[in-house]
């Protein structure tokens, strides 16, 4: 079913200003260009998987393990972060990853268009104004990306996880203030309690508007949210075992859930969901055998919580969530062994501890299974992981909050880049989230095709030019000389150690001898190794000499241009 078409609200689209439409219009590829690579999986790959269980990992802890953990948990670990993690213990690193940073200040106005507040002040508590909606939405999207870029804990990745899970589309919601409230809700519970998050999302104004909960009344219940709640947000859709029976829920359950949720609307003044008793269906709602034939009597304003509690009482809800977490952090293939060794016990833990997320993440990310060599380097980076990771790992200097116009312009530019790569923060393609996270058998391979891969390379190439990219007067550029200079001189002066230093940060697994020789030739075409040492030493002795700096910079850029376009750099 084409959910997007179903969810479109033509009236609001037609009345929206042109700027708002262009801001939100997802990029569409020219006709005739593939959107799914012809080389992507036709069936799930049957490469060998591991039998390792969730038993605590007790093997070696060093740079290799630290890098694997951080690559999967943050948007591109830097060299310093990798070194610090390798010098700590697994427990210490996980403690750090699970400690979310302080709540960020809300997004601010950076446009003269929005006259409700001064530049630099937040617009999130101001009255709705359609004329300001476009610039506010850009501000929200920029701010959101900025937070992901600067956050080195698990919160950032889980924030995106929940966005992809409890999906809304800013374009459909049409009120950036709602969008901010939704984003803040996801962030605050990113490492918290899933059940509570589900309850809060259910009556969040953005969700009430996105899935039509605000139109659901006793006389005309709207099934949209009730259906997605079951099919996509909680128990998931099982095999069809009878008419209208999807194993985990039935069509009648969808209708019953919809009636539970009647009476809720969104308030544009308070930016909250609110309950109206007169619109609520007060009859008892009967659920099917999938829910042990439970019934929910009238519970008024808290009835939706009873429904969520009932759904989260199902073991399949925990399993559905854990499978999604597994695919987010490990790999998309879940074979019978993994289901039995990893998914089932992890789901049991999640359910037993009342759906607190942090202990479950800790179990998975500290397990023998997670650190099994077979799970290293097999994760194709999403556009956000690729782009933010590139910026972080290459240590591209970013503007600060002392110039918010500049800062937001740069974040806005990054949103443009990831949009072109087919991942636009705030606007997943539909309520199911980005297909790379669920579409079998391709999964993550959906990110890479003949259109999107060159766009990734164009990003790294642009940052590798001698002038970089300038946005709002701020220059974004990879400075490979500074990067190399931050290494111990014994490393930076030896071309092979230097290449290894780059590889250790950028590549998810060691390269072959042939590949390293190839990279050596990219750095030193036709020259012996000592000439690098010579030229680098000469530069270090005269670091303000432009000619000597340019001499080594040209070579380092050539090396990085090759490295960043290697297939390996697409993997995590």
């Amino acid at each position: 079913m084409d959910r997007r078409a179903f969810l479109r609200k033509p009236a609001s689209v037609l009345t929206a200003p042109a700027a708002a439409l262009t801001d939100t219009a997802a990029y569409t590829d020219p006709p005739g260009q593939e959107t799914v690579s012809r080389f992507a999986n036709q069936t799930l790959p049957d490469v060998p998987r591991t039998n390792a269980s969730l038993a605590p990992y007790a093997g070696t802890w060093g740079p290799v393990q630290a890098a694997h953990l951080l690559r999967r948990c943050v948007f591109g670990p830097t060299r310093a972060q990798l070194a610090a993690a390798a010098g700590s213990s697994l427990t210490q690193v996980l403690n750090g990853l699970l400690t979310a940073p302080a709540a960020p200040a809300p997004p601010v106005n950076v446009s003269a268009t929005d006259t409700s507040v001064a530049i630099g002040q937040t617009w999130t508590a101001q009255a709705f104004d359609q004329n300001f909606e476009g610039v506010r939405r850009s501000s929200l999207r920029a701010w959101w990306l900025g937070q992901l870029l600067s956050d080195s804990t698990l919160q950032a990745k889980m924030w995106l996880f929940w966005h992809n899970h409890f999906v809304i589309e800013l374009a459909d919601v049409g009120d950036a203030r709602y969008g901010y409230q939704y984003a803040e809700l996801l962030r605050s519970q990113a490492l918290g309690n899933v059940k509570q998050l589900c309850k809060d999302v259910t009556v969040a104004p953005a969700m009430l508007r996105y899935l039509n909960g605000n139109q659901s009344t006793a006389t005309a219940p709207n099934e949209n949210y009730g259906r997605e709640l079951l099919e996509l947000f909680t128990v998931g859709k099982g095999p069809i075992i009878g008419p209208g029976n999807y194993t985990t829920y039935t069509e009648a359950d969808v209708q019953a859930a919809a009636r539970v949720l009647t009476g809720w609307r969104d308030n544009s003044t308070t930016i909250q969901g609110y309950y109206t008793a007169s619109r609520h269906d007060t009859t008892t709602k009967q659920f099917s055998g999938a829910f042990q034939n439970q019934s929910i009597p009238n519970g008024g304003a808290t009835e939706y919580q009873t429904l969520v509690d009932m759904i989260f009482g199902q073991a399949e809800t925990a399993r559905y969530l854990v499978r999604k977490l597994y695919r987010w952090f490990v790999y998309y293939v879940i074979d019978a062994t993994t289901e039995q060794q990893v998914i089932q016990p992890l789901a049991a833990q999640l359910q037993q501890n009342g759906y607190n997320l942090a202990p479950v993440l800790r179990t998975l990310l500290a397990s023998e299974h997670f650190f099994d060599a077979v799970n290293v380097g097999c994760y194709i980076k999403s556009p956000l992981e690729f782009s933010l990771g590139l910026l972080r790992q290459m240590e591209v200097a970013q503007p600060t909050s002392s110039n918010v116009a500049q800062q937001y312009a740069v974040w806005d530019y990054y949103n443009g880049l990831t949009n072109l790569q087919q991942q636009y923060l705030g606007d997943p393609p539909n309520v199911a989230g980005w297909p790379a996270y669920w579409q079998t058998p391709q999964f993550n391979e959906l990110w890479i095709n003949a259109v999107t891969l060159p766009r990734r390379n164009q990003v790294s190439d642009a940052l590798l030019t001698t002038t970089g990219v300038t946005r709002s007067g701020f220059q974004l550029i990879i400075d490979p000389v500074a990067w190399a200079q931050s290494l111990p001189v014994q490393t930076s002066q030896d071309p092979n150690l230097l290449i290894r230093a780059f590889v250790d940060v950028l590549m998810p697994f060691p390269l072959t001898t042939n590949q390293l020789a190839f990279l050596n030739d990219a750095l030193l075409p036709g020259l012996p190794d000592f000439e690098w040492t010579d030229e680098w030493t000469q530069y270090l002795a005269a670091p303000t000499n432009t000619a000597k700096k340019n001499a080594v910079a040209t070579k380092l850029r050539a090396l990085l241009r090759v490295m960043l376009s290697q297939a390996e750099f697409q993997l995590s």
């Binding site: 080389f39 290293v376 194709i380 891969l453 036709g526």
Partner: protein, 526 residues
């Protein structure tokens, strides 16, 4: 040349583009702005330029050997000088390294020209910086981020890569066989060329295979991405089509893996013959950084590392020319060699040579002027450790002259590409017959510096022909210390003052060039 006449006629009649044997016919001539304008500023041409980069700094003094300088040579480099009897003589005065029999034979057949002592004022001895200078064609003291051929292609194909490949331009504008796309073809925003990462990857490209990866989840995804990487090479189909359309024919190609330059040029020959419209190919051979043991520790100095390298250059170019001839495309191709610098006149104690300045280069192909441009290096009788070969020709003179003659680039465009004008050097054949040319054609007549040794002031005297004249004074390391004149001088005897009062005592070279004529004199300042 017949083509030239033909195209001039055709241009006059405004019948363009003209096809001859299925190929568009190139403009040939120095200033065919009319033709360029007719094709909307983009020149129609089927001509190909092959740039052969010798990485590391090639010891030119052991490659193109001044037979009249042996006493100086034997003093400066007794451990590594080639025995005079083994030098392959090109003229009475100049010969080739004995490993270069292939090039010698091409020279004898009129397909190789030599340009003596090519460099630039104020040479840089850093490999990286000197390579950047040679590939960007900048002055020694400024940094340009674009390549000279890239700027040329950018002007010819505006907007690249947006809208490419297209029906009109279906093929890569430039191809590098090597791990990194050559900086020669770096354009203002993007590199104008594509790299065929290695000779083996070229054949993978043709067969559609990728490197094998392990049978793991990571290997599975790696293979997938590599397949897409290969697919996104927009020119794959064009390369496959060209490769299918032609097969190498020369028996002179060495076995694959024996001579990497030959392996690269073999691909170039195949693609040219297969009809690829690519204008510029970049190939390279490394290993010329011969600080130690460029000749064997014991045994003949005509063998060893440098001999092997020069032998590969010679063998590769000979096979290339033979293949082009058999494939019937030899008249469409010219090539030139270059290296970031030459090496010091004096050998070091390790039977090697250190980073130097000017060096000779080869131009090859049926269209080159098969002669030796310039004069032998004048080797001081007691060369010091820092003494360098002074330049006779600015390398940008060679680039500009090739662009002008081979690709019909107008003078104004050349000035824009190189920042200013450089004297024209006829490295391509405007009708000159095979063989050596009379001395009066290459020397500046009546050139002398007097008094010599100089105390304070001296006079530079010569006969001017009425064209642009450059007269410079270089010190022994090749650094330009004085620009005596750089402008058009009237025909007739010239007497220019040389002020040596501020110069340290020592050996200098005074170098005068007017068009193709070049002369150098050793000047001693007391």
């Amino acid at each position: 040349m017949k083509r030239r006449e033909f195209i001039q006629t055709a241009a006059a009649g405004a019948v363009l583009p003209v096809l001859m044997n299925g190929f568009p016919v190139a403009a040939y001539g120095q200033d065919n702005a009319v033709l360029a304008a007719l094709v909307n500023a983009t020149t129609q041409t089927d001509r190909v330029l092959v740039l052969v980069q010798l990485n590391g700094g090639n010891d030119g003094l052991n490659m193109v050997i001044p037979l009249d300088q042996y006493s100086g040579l034997m003093t400066a480099r007794p451990d590594i000088a080639i025995p005079q009897a083994q030098v392959l003589p090109m003229t009475q005065l100049t010969g080739l390294h004995p490993a270069m029999t292939g090039l010698k034979s091409l020279y004898d057949n009129g397909s190789v020209g030599v340009v003596q002592s090519v460099g630039y004022p104020n040479p840089n001895f850093s490999h990286f910086r000197a390579t950047d200078i040679w590939t960007s064609a900048s002055d020694s003291n400024v940094t340009w981020t674009t390549g000279w051929a890239g700027r040329y292609l950018d002007g010819e194909f505006p907007g690249f890569p947006t809208g490419y490949p297209s029906t009109q331009n279906p093929d890569p504008l430039a191809i590098t066989v090597g791990s990194v796309v050559s900086n020669c073809v770096q354009g203002p925003t993007v590199n104008m060329g594509m790299a065929i990462a290695s000779t083996s990857s070229f054949y993978q490209l043709l067969t559609g295979t990728v490197d094998t990866a392990p049978n793991t989840p990571a290997g599975h995804e790696l293979t997938f991405i590599r397949q897409v990487v290969q697919q996104t090479q927009v020119y794959t189909a064009a390369l496959q089509r060209a490769a299918r359309a032609a097969t190498n024919l020369s028996p002179l190609w060495p076995t694959a893996g024996q001579n990497s330059l030959a392996d690269q040029l073999k691909i170039v020959a195949q693609l040219i013959a297969g009809g690829l419209q690519t204008r510029i190919y970049c190939v390279s051979l490394g290993g010329f950084d011969t600080h130690a043991l460029q000749v064997p520790a014991t045994g003949s100095t005509a063998t060893g590392t440098h001999a092997t390298l020069l032998g590969r250059v010679s063998q590769a170019i000979e096979a290339f020319q033979d293949d082009l001839r058999r494939l019937g495309v030899q008249d469409r191709v010219v090539g030139m060699t270059f290296s970031e610098f030459g090496r010091r006149i004096k050998a070091n104690s390790g039977k090697g040579t250190d980073h130097g300045a000017a060096a000779p280069l080869f131009v090859f192909g049926t269209s080159v002027n098969p002669r030796i441009h310039g004069q032998n290096v004048q080797v001081p009788l007691n060369a010091g450790v820092n003494d360098n070969v002074p330049m006779q020709f600015d390398f940008r003179s060679i680039y500009a002259s090739i662009l002008q003659d081979w690709f019909a680039v107008p003078t104004a465009t050349l000035t824009a590409l190189f920042g200013r004008t450089f004297p024209y050097v006829p490295v391509l054949r405007p009708g000159v017959l095979t063989g050596t040319v009379a001395a009066e054609d290459v020397n500046v007549p009546g050139f002398s510096v007097y008094p010599n040794p100089v105390r304070g002031r001296a006079t530079v005297a010569f006969e001017a022909g009425g064209a642009h004249v450059q007269a410079r004074l270089f010190d022994a390391t090749g650094r330009e210390v004085q620009l005596v004149v750089d402008r058009v001088l009237p025909r007739g005897p010239q007497r220019l003052p040389l002020d040596a009062a501020g110069l340290a005592a020592g050996t200098y070279y005074c170098h005068v060039q007017e068009g193709p004529r070049i002369s150098t004199r050793l000047v001693v300042v007391e």
